[in-house]
Symmetry: C2
Subunit: 199 residues, 2 copies
């Protein structure tokens, strides 16, 4: 791309490394950025570095946050006895948008996948079990995706938790098979929550 | 989005302002960025601010570059007597990729659009006319898009340039190479028929 200046080529290359952004989109974004006022570009750039700088895992639920405990775990109105287990923070966000779930979460940061070589130790499962021992919990709602990995993870968690006597439920398969939670509409998400069955 | 930390919410908001990036994509990008090593995030951020900082218009063809004159205008092997007029630097890049065009360019940064209130003074037309007066030019090839705005701009430029005696041409429009006739719109089919050449 020597017909672009080196700085633009560099920016296009950096942008095209982002997920879902090909070379064409990266070009489009780069030229858009070149046309923004300098202050806005600085704001965009610093929002990235600052967020990345401050980010940490919530010490209770392990979602990404910028304080020791996330806003949901700190919220005294949330039911600490009910823990919804999700694969990642985007899935947490998807359930939060329904506005109807009043418990707290546990973010695994992945799912068990023999194909990709991701075992139970690679996700935040140990932390979930520690949490169940150290605090009083009445129900664990497994809301992993309805994919092969998600189902495998759900079965695995269910087997781990059941001996403790804590109730384990799985969100209903109102969620389409193979579907990714973050792209599903709120009504379906709620239907799945209501229809959860004990495992 | 108070269930995200303020820094993540801020980043998502900044990203979702970019063209073609909705809230869902912005979320996905933000969490991808949160999972990158800090150094890579700093690299991405600084590639934006640096490119924006250094960017300027080429003093000859007005494409975006980081020096006084762009690499194409500086290249002595390029034919300075042939100027291809394009709407934006991406269109310039599209023709450069063919590797066959040996002339230089003129980047308008837009097209005339009565609908959007963009007149001839809002694009780099005056600069084109000044260029035609100050340097010897044999041909102006108009390669604006084949949209309403692009055609309007082409007609306008043609009327301006013709009195100077310089040859004005327009890139052909017709059926794309490899294109299947049954999937091509009627306007293009008619244009291809009108533009037929003797074999």
């Amino acid at each position: 791309m020597e017909y672009y200046s080196s700085h633009i080529s560099n920016l296009i290359e950096q942008l095209s490394r982002l997920p879902g952004i090909g070379v064409k989109s990266a070009q489009r974004l780069a030229f858009h950025i070149m046309n923004l006022p300098k202050e806005e570009v600085n704001l965009l750039a610093s929002s990235m570095t600052q967020a990345r700088e401050k980010i940490q895992y919530c010490k209770s639920c392990f979602t990404l946050t910028d304080e020791e405990f996330c806003p949901i775990c700190r919220n005294l109105r949330r039911d600490q006895n009910q823990i919804m287990v999700v694969e990642n923070p985007r899935d947490l966000a998807a359930y939060e948008k329904t506005g109807k779930y009043e418990g707290v979460y546990h973010v695994l940061h992945g799912a068990i996948s023999p194909m990709l070589g991701i075992g139970p130790d690679e996700i935040r499962l140990k932390e979930l079990m520690q949490r169940l021992q150290s605090q009083e919990v009445q129900e664990v709602i497994i809301a992993t995706n309805s994919s092969l990995e998600g189902e495998t993870t759900a079965m695995y968690i269910s087997k781990l938790v059941k001996p403790t006597g804590i109730k384990v439920t799985r969100i209903a398969s109102g969620v389409p098979v193979g579907g990714d939670l973050e792209y599903i509409d709120e009504v379906t998400l709620l239907r799945a929550l209501e229809g959860r069955v004990e495992l």
